[in-house]
Amino acid sequence: MANHAHPAPAPLGGPFITPLAVNLALLIGIAGIILFLRFLFGIGAVTNVNDGYSWGIWVVYDVMVGSAFACGGYSVALLVYIFNKGEYHPLVRPALLGSLFGYTLAGASVIVDLGRYWNTWHIFWPGYAQVNSVMFEVAVCITLYIVVMWIEFSPVFLEKFGLKQIRRRLSRWMFLFIALGALLPSMHQSSLGSLLVVFGTAINPLWQTLLLPVLFLMTAITVGYAVVVFESTFSAMGFKRPYELDILSRLSKVMWGMLLAYLAVRVGDLVVRGAIVEAFRPTVVALMFWLEMLFFLLPAWLLAKPANRRRPNILFLSAVYLMLGTFLLRINGFLVGYDTGAGWRYFPSVPEMLVTLGIIAIEILGYIVLVRWLPVLPKHEAKARSLSDLTPLARRPAAGCSARRRGAP
């Protein structure tokens, strides 16, 4: 198991200015203009947040969901380095790059939602720092993890600039950063759930539980794998690269196992606490709960059949469902299941959503630019099959795929 011969990562090359890149840049520009207005006239000028729902999508999507979707690097690193599943090694770099972007942006985008952003450093400053606050733990942990991830990813830059000496010295200590990179997300992804505990009875019992940290952590790890499947599919389509069916199909089994474990904990908790009765009330909240559960139950059902795990369209669909479920768990916990008193309403405004879209655009554009420029994705020969060649691949034997992976002449 120790020696897995994988193709070396190499820059993809290709044009930087494409119609897609131009459109993404346009979205980023629009978000920039809106943020300019926000800093000039206040958060209320461009968003719909109010005293009833003071946290909108800039917190709940950009940070809570955004950082969960950035767990690909964490989830794959757990598998490869902690559980010693070396066969997933080719996924590490691309997953880490996605995480690097997701987390750095989740961290940076907090600033635009902070009313008194110029004081942000207080969180890390003795005398101001308040260690009983769940937010303190989340902020410190996420910041540390972003630093750790840049260090984990630095060999890519060092390779690019030919700094072999530093790279070799760093690689001797890399295991420490990899261990930290496995610890820190376990801490803050669970704490993102713990944030809700102090809300008390304002949160519907369907989401208010002492198992919140466990639920948020389990979905973060699971969705990490889903995001890897999602990104690989787009990478295969967008860059006309071979679809890593063999490795992704095995990854989907891990994802499925995590998902079943999550469902057991989630449903068990609801039944034990008796909160499940809330799900049978004729309310929008109950409807949203079932929608959330549906997005977890569907992939659990789809991936149960081993044959389905070898069908890229099913894999992709399951990944999307899992991402939607993870999204809804957070949206439901922080917004839908949050009863702040009669009369308050919140739905994001168009400018508010455009800022979030702009942040997503930065992530996609940054990813494209960096995989073209830096050695991130495993090198493949031009002859390798593209996703479109694989369309009727439901019944393709596994051996063919692994042979392809190694058989580069």
């Binding site: 490869v80 008194r116 308040q130 376990s186």
Partner: protein
């Protein structure tokens, strides 16, 4: 192959250690905080309130808050709720014909909404930068804009929806009642403005122990009889903001109030709101109409802050659990990450 299995099991061990670390099993329970020794507060008696809103106007004056217009003609300060411009408001409950004061059916009643100065406040527990603090002596929950980062965790966490935010400002701050702690001798107001101007004593200022004793006295009065009701403040020498509860004569001794009036005793509900809620608040409330109808939430006796902090401390107390998990992860990572492996790609290329 056997080595691989052992490594895998080690990894499993580290993994399950992280799972255990994230399960709140070890509970070093942090109980509710207790009432500070010289806690100051308010007693609001809904039955005495006539809805004149003098307290709303005085609060704005004492705190330098701007008027808030909610009608198209902009001629009157008409706040609809506490907000970034309003720290204190009187709201009315109405039912049916709305003719009888303090009647749940076909009646109306008033409720004051402002910070309750919880004994164990969620906002203080939530704030990551100590901008929300509870004074260890008088228990006032204060806000420090110099520390605040504007994350609004206090706004979303408060069970009474008290802290508010200035959404319309480029350089905003949190706004909440701080029990007029900024007043200095010689100011127009000597103690919390809402209590000082209240014409009926519906809002009363004083040490919480005295306020509670006064509330208990009222609940023991015979409905329909006549009784004396103090105005302004009780239980302290003038100018002394942190008087000891014992300096005031027993509440059962009538006619000991500096300023008072006689009124007919209403049909109180036998409940002091704020006595038990979330471990108690320093603002106590009485009424003849159920508190839930007046917009006061039903809350458990255990504070949400204590639940949250117990969880955080059992997971991260002295960083013991993270250190143990990190140890396991380092062992696993050291075995599974080989420097060569990282450069395998290059080696292959050179072949």
């Amino acid at each position: 192959m056997s080595l691989d299995r052992r490594q895998f099991l080690k990894g499993m061990l580290a993994g399950s250690a992280s799972a255990v670390a994230c399960t709140p099993t070890r509970v070093e329970a942090r109980g509710n905080l207790t009432m500070p020794p010289k806690a100051m507060g308010l007693l609001f008696d809904s039955t005495l309130c006539i809805g004149c809103k003098a307290c709303v106007a005085a609060c704005k004056e004492a705190n330098g808050l701007p008027p808030e217009f909610t009608k198209p003609d902009d001629v009157w300060d008409t706040p609809l709720d506490i907000s970034g411009k309003t720290k204190n408001i009187i709201k009315v409950y109405r039912h049916g014909s709305g003719l009888t004061k303090d009647a749940e059916v076909d009646g109306y009643a008033f409720m004051k909404h402002s910070c309750l100065h919880c004994v164990d406040p969620s906002c203080v527990s939530a704030c990551p930068v100590s901008a929300m603090r509870k004074d260890p002596v008088d228990g006032i929950v204060s806000y420090d804009e110099k520390a605040c980062i504007g994350c609004r965790y206090c706004v979303v966490a408060c069970p009474f929806s008290v802290p508010k935010f200035e959404y319309d400002k480029a350089l905003p701050k949190i706004v909440k009642c701080e029990l007029c702690r900024h007043l200095k001798p010689g100011d127009a107001f000597q103690y919390p403005a809402c209590a000082q101007v209240c014409p009926t004593g519906a809002t009363l200022y004083g040490p919480v122990a005295d306020l509670k004793a006064e509330a208990q006295r009222r609940l023991a009065l015979k409905p329909g009889s006549e009784a004396e009701f103090p105005r302004g403040r009780i239980g302290m020498a003038p100018g002394d903001k942190t008087a000891d509860a014992t300096t005031w004569a027993s509440p059962s001794q009538k006619a000991s109030f500096a300023d008072s009036h006689v009124a007919r005793v209403p049909h109180y509900l036998q409940r002091i709101y704020g006595d038990k809620e979330l471990g108690g608040t320093q603002v106590l409330k009485l009424s003849a109409v159920p508190m839930a109808k007046l917009g006061m939430p039903e809350l458990p006796e255990r504070s949400f802050a204590s639940v949250s902090e117990t969880m955080q401390h059992s997971l991260y107390g002295y960083l013991i659990t993270p250190a143990i998990v990190l140890g396991g992860l380092i062992i696993a990572a050291r075995r599974n990450v080989r420097p060569e492996e990282d450069e395998a790609g290059q080696a292959q290329e050179n072949e």
